[in-house]
Symmetry: C2
Subunit: 203 residues, 2 copies
Amino acid sequence: MIRETGQIDGYDYGSAKIARSPVTLNELQELKVTLRWSEEDERFLRLAGEVLQDQTEPLVDLWRKQIIASIPHLARHSRAPEGQALPDYVTRSSRRFQQWVLDTCLQPYDQDWLNYQHEIALRHMAPKKNQVDHVRSTLYVPFRDILAFVPVMNETIKPFLAAKGHSAQDVNAMHRAWIKSMQLQMALWAKPYSEPPAGYSHW
Amino acid sequence: MIRETGQIDGYDYGSAKIARSPVTLNELQELKVTLRWSEEDERFLRLAGEVLQDQTEPLVDLWRKQIIASIPHLARHSRAPEGQALPDYVTRSSRRFQQWVLDTCLQPYDQDWLNYQHEIALRHMAPKKNQVDHVRSTLYVPFRDILAFVPVMNETIKPFLAAKGHSAQDVNAMHRAWIKSMQLQMALWAKPYSEPPAGYSHW
Protein backbone atom coordinates (compact mmCIF):
# COMPACT_ATOMS: atom_id res chain seq x y z
CA MET A 1 0.00 0.00 0.00
CA ILE A 2 1.26 3.48 -0.78
CA ARG A 3 1.04 5.41 2.48
CA GLU A 4 0.77 9.12 3.19
CA THR A 5 3.42 11.22 4.88
CA GLY A 6 2.94 11.08 8.65
CA GLN A 7 1.21 7.70 8.81
CA ILE A 8 4.58 6.23 9.77
CA ASP A 9 6.87 8.12 12.20
CA GLY A 10 9.51 9.99 10.21
CA TYR A 11 8.15 8.85 6.85
CA ASP A 12 8.20 11.97 4.69
CA TYR A 13 7.76 10.67 1.14
CA GLY A 14 6.53 13.49 -1.09
CA SER A 15 6.55 15.98 1.78
CA ALA A 16 7.38 19.63 1.12
CA LYS A 17 10.16 19.39 3.71
CA ILE A 18 12.11 16.94 1.53
CA ALA A 19 14.72 18.75 -0.57
CA ARG A 20 15.04 18.34 -4.31
CA SER A 21 17.48 15.60 -5.32
CA PRO A 22 20.71 16.83 -6.92
CA VAL A 23 20.22 13.98 -9.42
CA THR A 24 18.23 15.04 -12.47
CA LEU A 25 15.47 13.03 -14.13
CA ASN A 26 17.73 12.91 -17.17
CA GLU A 27 20.52 11.28 -15.14
CA LEU A 28 17.95 8.83 -13.75
CA GLN A 29 16.92 8.03 -17.31
CA GLU A 30 20.56 7.38 -18.29
CA LEU A 31 20.94 5.01 -15.34
CA LYS A 32 17.84 3.13 -16.48
CA VAL A 33 19.37 2.79 -19.95
CA THR A 34 22.61 1.44 -18.42
CA LEU A 35 20.56 -1.09 -16.42
CA ARG A 36 18.47 -2.03 -19.49
CA TRP A 37 15.38 -1.12 -17.48
CA SER A 38 12.22 -2.20 -19.31
CA GLU A 39 8.45 -1.86 -19.16
CA GLU A 40 8.42 -5.52 -18.19
CA ASP A 41 10.54 -4.66 -15.15
CA GLU A 42 8.01 -1.99 -14.14
CA ARG A 43 5.11 -4.40 -14.57
CA PHE A 44 6.78 -7.11 -12.52
CA LEU A 45 7.82 -4.67 -9.79
CA ARG A 46 4.11 -3.80 -9.42
CA LEU A 47 3.34 -7.51 -9.15
CA ALA A 48 6.14 -7.88 -6.58
CA GLY A 49 4.49 -5.07 -4.62
CA GLU A 50 1.21 -7.01 -4.52
CA VAL A 51 3.01 -10.19 -3.53
CA LEU A 52 5.05 -8.49 -0.78
CA GLN A 53 2.19 -6.32 0.51
CA ASP A 54 1.41 -8.49 3.56
CA GLN A 55 4.95 -9.88 3.96
CA THR A 56 7.03 -6.78 4.60
CA GLU A 57 7.13 -7.26 8.38
CA PRO A 58 8.59 -10.80 8.36
CA LEU A 59 10.88 -9.80 5.47
CA VAL A 60 12.35 -6.80 7.27
CA ASP A 61 12.50 -8.76 10.54
CA LEU A 62 14.52 -11.43 8.75
CA TRP A 63 16.96 -8.81 7.49
CA ARG A 64 17.26 -6.77 10.68
CA LYS A 65 16.48 -9.07 13.61
CA GLN A 66 18.03 -12.24 12.25
CA ILE A 67 20.78 -11.33 9.81
CA ILE A 68 21.98 -7.80 10.67
CA ALA A 69 21.54 -8.32 14.42
CA SER A 70 23.90 -11.32 14.24
CA ILE A 71 26.73 -9.35 12.58
CA PRO A 72 28.31 -6.97 15.13
CA HIS A 73 29.79 -4.48 12.64
CA LEU A 74 26.31 -4.08 11.12
CA ALA A 75 24.24 -4.38 14.30
CA ARG A 76 26.04 -1.41 15.89
CA HIS A 77 24.22 1.00 13.56
CA SER A 78 20.96 0.27 15.41
CA ARG A 79 22.55 0.55 18.86
CA ALA A 80 23.89 3.28 21.14
CA PRO A 81 27.64 3.99 20.89
CA GLU A 82 28.09 2.12 24.20
CA GLY A 83 26.26 -0.91 22.78
CA GLN A 84 22.80 -0.70 24.37
CA ALA A 85 19.82 -1.79 22.30
CA LEU A 86 17.52 0.98 21.03
CA PRO A 87 14.20 -0.84 20.61
CA ASP A 88 12.17 2.27 19.72
CA TYR A 89 14.70 3.21 17.04
CA VAL A 90 14.55 -0.28 15.59
CA THR A 91 10.74 -0.29 15.61
CA ARG A 92 10.40 3.12 13.97
CA SER A 93 13.07 2.59 11.36
CA SER A 94 11.79 -0.93 10.60
CA ARG A 95 8.35 0.48 9.77
CA ARG A 96 9.98 2.86 7.31
CA PHE A 97 12.13 0.00 5.99
CA GLN A 98 8.94 -1.99 5.34
CA GLN A 99 7.35 0.95 3.58
CA TRP A 100 10.49 1.38 1.48
CA VAL A 101 10.05 -2.19 0.19
CA LEU A 102 6.57 -1.27 -1.03
CA ASP A 103 7.66 2.12 -2.37
CA THR A 104 10.40 0.34 -4.35
CA CYS A 105 7.74 -1.79 -6.00
CA LEU A 106 4.73 0.52 -6.22
CA GLN A 107 5.82 4.14 -6.54
CA PRO A 108 6.47 5.73 -9.92
CA TYR A 109 10.15 6.57 -10.26
CA ASP A 110 9.48 10.30 -10.63
CA GLN A 111 10.78 13.50 -9.02
CA ASP A 112 9.24 12.64 -5.62
CA TRP A 113 10.83 9.21 -5.68
CA LEU A 114 14.19 10.70 -6.69
CA ASN A 115 13.98 13.28 -3.90
CA TYR A 116 13.17 10.64 -1.32
CA GLN A 117 15.99 8.39 -2.51
CA HIS A 118 18.38 11.21 -1.79
CA GLU A 119 16.77 11.82 1.61
CA ILE A 120 17.05 8.14 2.56
CA ALA A 121 20.73 8.10 1.56
CA LEU A 122 21.36 11.21 3.67
CA ARG A 123 19.60 9.53 6.60
CA HIS A 124 22.30 6.85 6.48
CA MET A 125 25.01 9.52 6.56
CA ALA A 126 26.34 12.13 8.99
CA PRO A 127 24.80 14.41 10.10
CA LYS A 128 21.26 13.16 9.26
CA LYS A 129 21.40 9.61 10.65
CA ASN A 130 19.70 9.46 14.09
CA GLN A 131 18.10 12.92 13.68
CA VAL A 132 14.64 11.77 12.62
CA ASP A 133 14.36 9.42 15.61
CA HIS A 134 16.32 11.59 18.10
CA VAL A 135 18.70 8.80 19.05
CA ARG A 136 22.40 8.41 19.78
CA SER A 137 23.95 5.76 17.55
CA THR A 138 26.77 5.41 14.99
CA LEU A 139 27.20 8.61 12.97
CA TYR A 140 26.74 6.90 9.62
CA VAL A 141 26.41 3.55 7.87
CA PRO A 142 29.50 3.00 5.67
CA PHE A 143 28.60 2.74 2.00
CA ARG A 144 30.61 -0.48 1.71
CA ASP A 145 28.31 -2.22 4.19
CA ILE A 146 25.19 -1.14 2.34
CA LEU A 147 26.62 -2.28 -1.01
CA ALA A 148 27.74 -5.62 0.41
CA PHE A 149 24.39 -6.29 2.05
CA VAL A 150 22.44 -5.87 -1.19
CA PRO A 151 23.14 -9.42 -2.51
CA VAL A 152 21.92 -10.80 0.83
CA MET A 153 18.66 -8.88 0.49
CA ASN A 154 18.33 -9.98 -3.12
CA GLU A 155 18.94 -13.62 -2.26
CA THR A 156 16.65 -13.77 0.77
CA ILE A 157 13.72 -11.93 -0.81
CA LYS A 158 13.25 -14.62 -3.45
CA PRO A 159 11.18 -17.06 -1.30
CA PHE A 160 8.91 -14.14 -0.37
CA LEU A 161 8.38 -13.38 -4.07
CA ALA A 162 7.54 -17.05 -4.64
CA ALA A 163 5.20 -17.31 -1.62
CA LYS A 164 1.98 -16.57 -3.49
CA GLY A 165 2.20 -19.38 -6.00
CA HIS A 166 3.33 -17.50 -9.10
CA SER A 167 5.12 -19.44 -11.86
CA ALA A 168 8.90 -19.75 -11.70
CA GLN A 169 9.06 -17.53 -14.77
CA ASP A 170 7.06 -14.76 -13.09
CA VAL A 171 9.02 -15.08 -9.85
CA ASN A 172 12.26 -14.74 -11.85
CA ALA A 173 10.90 -11.67 -13.63
CA MET A 174 9.91 -10.07 -10.30
CA HIS A 175 13.31 -10.94 -8.88
CA ARG A 176 15.18 -9.51 -11.86
CA ALA A 177 13.24 -6.24 -11.60
CA TRP A 178 13.88 -6.06 -7.84
CA ILE A 179 17.62 -6.60 -8.35
CA LYS A 180 17.76 -3.85 -10.97
CA SER A 181 15.93 -1.46 -8.67
CA MET A 182 18.31 -2.23 -5.80
CA GLN A 183 21.34 -1.36 -7.91
CA LEU A 184 19.61 1.70 -9.37
CA GLN A 185 19.10 2.89 -5.81
CA MET A 186 22.75 2.15 -4.97
CA ALA A 187 23.80 4.24 -7.96
CA LEU A 188 21.63 7.10 -6.66
CA TRP A 189 22.95 6.74 -3.11
CA ALA A 190 26.48 6.85 -4.54
CA LYS A 191 25.86 10.54 -5.28
CA PRO A 192 25.98 11.80 -1.66
CA TYR A 193 28.38 9.03 -0.62
CA SER A 194 30.81 10.07 -3.39
CA GLU A 195 30.55 13.72 -2.46
CA PRO A 196 31.05 13.86 1.31
CA PRO A 197 32.17 17.04 3.08
CA ALA A 198 35.87 17.65 2.31
CA GLY A 199 38.19 15.41 4.24
CA TYR A 200 35.33 13.25 5.52
CA SER A 201 34.91 9.68 4.35
CA HIS A 202 31.72 7.64 4.58
CA TRP A 203 33.37 4.54 3.16
CA MET B 1 44.54 -19.18 -16.51
CA ILE B 2 46.37 -17.03 -14.00
CA ARG B 3 48.78 -14.92 -16.02
CA GLU B 4 52.01 -13.18 -15.06
CA THR B 5 52.53 -9.45 -14.98
CA GLY B 6 53.58 -8.25 -18.42
CA GLN B 7 51.99 -11.02 -20.46
CA ILE B 8 49.15 -8.60 -21.16
CA ASP B 9 49.89 -4.93 -21.88
CA GLY B 10 49.37 -2.91 -18.72
CA TYR B 11 48.44 -5.94 -16.63
CA ASP B 12 50.34 -5.48 -13.39
CA TYR B 13 48.73 -7.96 -10.99
CA GLY B 14 51.11 -8.68 -8.13
CA SER B 15 53.75 -6.30 -9.50
CA ALA B 16 55.97 -4.33 -7.11
CA LYS B 17 54.82 -1.11 -8.81
CA ILE B 18 51.26 -1.62 -7.53
CA ALA B 19 50.68 0.29 -4.29
CA ARG B 20 49.29 -1.29 -1.16
CA SER B 21 45.50 -1.01 -0.92
CA PRO B 22 44.24 1.37 1.77
CA VAL B 23 41.67 -1.36 2.57
CA THR B 24 42.92 -3.81 5.19
CA LEU B 25 42.54 -7.58 5.09
CA ASN B 26 40.41 -7.19 8.23
CA GLU B 27 38.02 -4.83 6.41
CA LEU B 28 37.91 -7.31 3.53
CA GLN B 29 37.01 -10.04 6.01
CA GLU B 30 34.19 -7.90 7.44
CA LEU B 31 32.82 -7.35 3.94
CA LYS B 32 32.84 -11.10 3.36
CA VAL B 33 30.87 -11.57 6.59
CA THR B 34 28.32 -8.96 5.44
CA LEU B 35 28.00 -10.78 2.12
CA ARG B 36 27.73 -14.17 3.84
CA TRP B 37 30.67 -15.31 1.77
CA SER B 38 31.18 -19.06 2.14
CA GLU B 39 33.65 -21.79 1.25
CA GLU B 40 31.02 -23.01 -1.19
CA ASP B 41 31.23 -19.64 -2.95
CA GLU B 42 35.01 -20.02 -3.25
CA ARG B 43 34.68 -23.53 -4.63
CA PHE B 44 32.09 -22.51 -7.19
CA LEU B 45 34.07 -19.45 -8.23
CA ARG B 46 36.94 -21.79 -9.07
CA LEU B 47 34.55 -23.91 -11.11
CA ALA B 48 33.27 -20.75 -12.83
CA GLY B 49 36.89 -19.95 -13.69
CA GLU B 50 37.28 -23.32 -15.40
CA VAL B 51 33.98 -22.86 -17.23
CA LEU B 52 34.80 -19.32 -18.38
CA GLN B 53 38.45 -20.05 -19.24
CA ASP B 54 37.93 -20.27 -23.02
CA GLN B 55 34.92 -17.94 -23.14
CA THR B 56 36.30 -14.65 -21.82
CA GLU B 57 36.79 -13.14 -25.27
CA PRO B 58 33.16 -13.56 -26.46
CA LEU B 59 31.95 -12.59 -22.98
CA VAL B 60 33.88 -9.32 -22.86
CA ASP B 61 33.05 -8.63 -26.52
CA LEU B 62 29.35 -9.01 -25.66
CA TRP B 63 29.71 -6.51 -22.83
CA ARG B 64 31.90 -3.98 -24.64
CA LYS B 65 31.26 -4.32 -28.37
CA GLN B 66 27.55 -5.09 -28.21
CA ILE B 67 26.10 -3.59 -25.05
CA ILE B 68 28.39 -0.74 -23.95
CA ALA B 69 29.12 0.33 -27.53
CA SER B 70 25.39 0.79 -28.13
CA ILE B 71 24.91 3.14 -25.15
CA PRO B 72 26.49 6.54 -25.95
CA HIS B 73 26.99 7.69 -22.34
CA LEU B 74 28.95 4.48 -21.68
CA ALA B 75 30.65 4.12 -25.07
CA ARG B 76 32.33 7.53 -24.70
CA HIS B 77 34.70 6.15 -22.06
CA SER B 78 36.43 4.08 -24.76
CA ARG B 79 36.57 6.95 -27.22
CA ALA B 80 38.49 10.21 -27.69
CA PRO B 81 36.83 13.35 -26.26
CA GLU B 82 35.88 14.34 -29.84
CA GLY B 83 34.22 10.96 -30.35
CA GLN B 84 36.76 9.05 -32.47
CA ALA B 85 37.11 5.32 -31.90
CA LEU B 86 40.30 4.18 -30.14
CA PRO B 87 40.66 0.59 -31.36
CA ASP B 88 44.06 -0.02 -29.71
CA TYR B 89 42.72 1.20 -26.37
CA VAL B 90 39.71 -1.10 -26.68
CA THR B 91 41.90 -4.07 -27.61
CA ARG B 92 44.39 -3.55 -24.79
CA SER B 93 41.80 -2.85 -22.11
CA SER B 94 39.60 -5.73 -23.31
CA ARG B 95 42.49 -8.15 -22.80
CA ARG B 96 42.83 -6.90 -19.23
CA PHE B 97 39.04 -7.07 -18.83
CA GLN B 98 39.15 -10.74 -19.90
CA GLN B 99 41.95 -11.46 -17.46
CA TRP B 100 39.97 -9.72 -14.71
CA VAL B 101 37.12 -12.21 -15.27
CA LEU B 102 39.56 -15.07 -14.64
CA ASP B 103 41.26 -13.32 -11.73
CA THR B 104 37.83 -12.82 -10.14
CA CYS B 105 37.29 -16.57 -10.29
CA LEU B 106 40.76 -18.00 -9.81
CA GLN B 107 42.91 -15.69 -7.68
CA PRO B 108 42.96 -15.99 -3.90
CA TYR B 109 41.43 -12.86 -2.35
CA ASP B 110 44.64 -11.93 -0.54
CA GLN B 111 46.79 -8.80 -0.24
CA ASP B 112 47.83 -8.89 -3.93
CA TRP B 113 44.20 -9.18 -5.00
CA LEU B 114 43.21 -6.35 -2.67
CA ASN B 115 46.02 -4.15 -4.00
CA TYR B 116 45.02 -4.79 -7.59
CA GLN B 117 41.35 -4.12 -6.87
CA HIS B 118 42.38 -0.68 -5.69
CA GLU B 119 44.59 -0.19 -8.74
CA ILE B 120 41.77 -1.16 -11.13
CA ALA B 121 39.40 1.25 -9.39
CA LEU B 122 41.98 4.05 -9.71
CA ARG B 123 42.38 3.22 -13.41
CA HIS B 124 38.70 4.10 -13.82
CA MET B 125 39.27 7.44 -12.07
CA ALA B 126 41.14 10.69 -12.72
CA PRO B 127 44.06 10.98 -13.06
CA LYS B 128 44.90 7.28 -13.73
CA LYS B 129 42.37 6.44 -16.44
CA ASN B 130 44.04 6.55 -19.89
CA GLN B 131 47.57 6.64 -18.41
CA VAL B 132 48.40 2.95 -18.82
CA ASP B 133 47.45 3.03 -22.50
CA HIS B 134 48.61 6.58 -23.21
CA VAL B 135 45.29 7.67 -24.72
CA ARG B 136 43.05 10.72 -24.63
CA SER B 137 39.54 9.78 -23.50
CA THR B 138 37.06 10.72 -20.76
CA LEU B 139 38.83 11.56 -17.50
CA TYR B 140 36.95 8.99 -15.46
CA VAL B 141 34.09 6.49 -15.51
CA PRO B 142 31.37 7.70 -13.09
CA PHE B 143 30.80 5.26 -10.25
CA ARG B 144 27.05 5.31 -10.93
CA ASP B 145 27.59 3.84 -14.39
CA ILE B 146 29.78 1.06 -13.05
CA LEU B 147 27.27 0.20 -10.32
CA ALA B 148 24.35 0.24 -12.73
CA PHE B 149 26.15 -1.96 -15.26
CA VAL B 150 26.81 -4.73 -12.73
CA PRO B 151 23.32 -6.31 -12.97
CA VAL B 152 23.72 -6.41 -16.77
CA MET B 153 27.01 -8.28 -16.41
CA ASN B 154 25.47 -10.61 -13.84
CA GLU B 155 22.48 -11.34 -16.04
CA THR B 156 24.39 -11.86 -19.27
CA ILE B 157 27.14 -14.05 -17.81
CA LYS B 158 24.67 -16.75 -16.81
CA PRO B 159 24.45 -18.50 -20.22
CA PHE B 160 28.27 -18.59 -20.30
CA LEU B 161 28.27 -20.29 -16.88
CA ALA B 162 25.74 -22.80 -18.22
CA ALA B 163 27.60 -23.43 -21.49
CA LYS B 164 29.60 -26.44 -20.33
CA GLY B 165 26.66 -28.61 -19.32
CA HIS B 166 26.73 -28.27 -15.54
CA SER B 167 23.53 -28.94 -13.58
CA ALA B 168 21.15 -26.04 -12.96
CA GLN B 169 22.06 -26.27 -9.28
CA ASP B 170 25.79 -25.90 -9.99
CA VAL B 171 25.19 -23.08 -12.48
CA ASN B 172 23.13 -21.27 -9.83
CA ALA B 173 25.88 -21.75 -7.26
CA MET B 174 28.51 -20.38 -9.67
CA HIS B 175 26.22 -17.48 -10.49
CA ARG B 176 25.57 -16.70 -6.82
CA ALA B 177 29.30 -16.66 -6.08
CA TRP B 178 29.98 -14.45 -9.11
CA ILE B 179 27.28 -11.98 -8.01
CA LYS B 180 28.74 -11.80 -4.49
CA SER B 181 32.21 -11.17 -5.87
CA MET B 182 30.93 -8.39 -8.12
CA GLN B 183 29.36 -6.57 -5.19
CA LEU B 184 32.40 -7.22 -3.00
CA GLN B 185 34.49 -5.53 -5.68
CA MET B 186 32.02 -2.62 -5.87
CA ALA B 187 32.33 -2.20 -2.10
CA LEU B 188 36.14 -2.08 -2.50
CA TRP B 189 35.95 0.36 -5.41
CA ALA B 190 33.67 2.55 -3.28
CA LYS B 191 36.76 3.36 -1.18
CA PRO B 192 38.52 5.60 -3.71
CA TYR B 193 35.24 6.71 -5.27
CA SER B 194 33.99 7.87 -1.83
CA GLU B 195 37.24 9.67 -1.10
CA PRO B 196 37.95 11.79 -4.17
CA PRO B 197 40.23 14.82 -4.03
CA ALA B 198 38.42 17.66 -2.20
CA GLY B 199 35.79 19.34 -4.33
CA TYR B 200 36.05 16.70 -7.05
CA SER B 201 33.21 14.30 -7.73
CA HIS B 202 33.49 11.00 -9.60
CA TRP B 203 29.76 10.30 -9.34
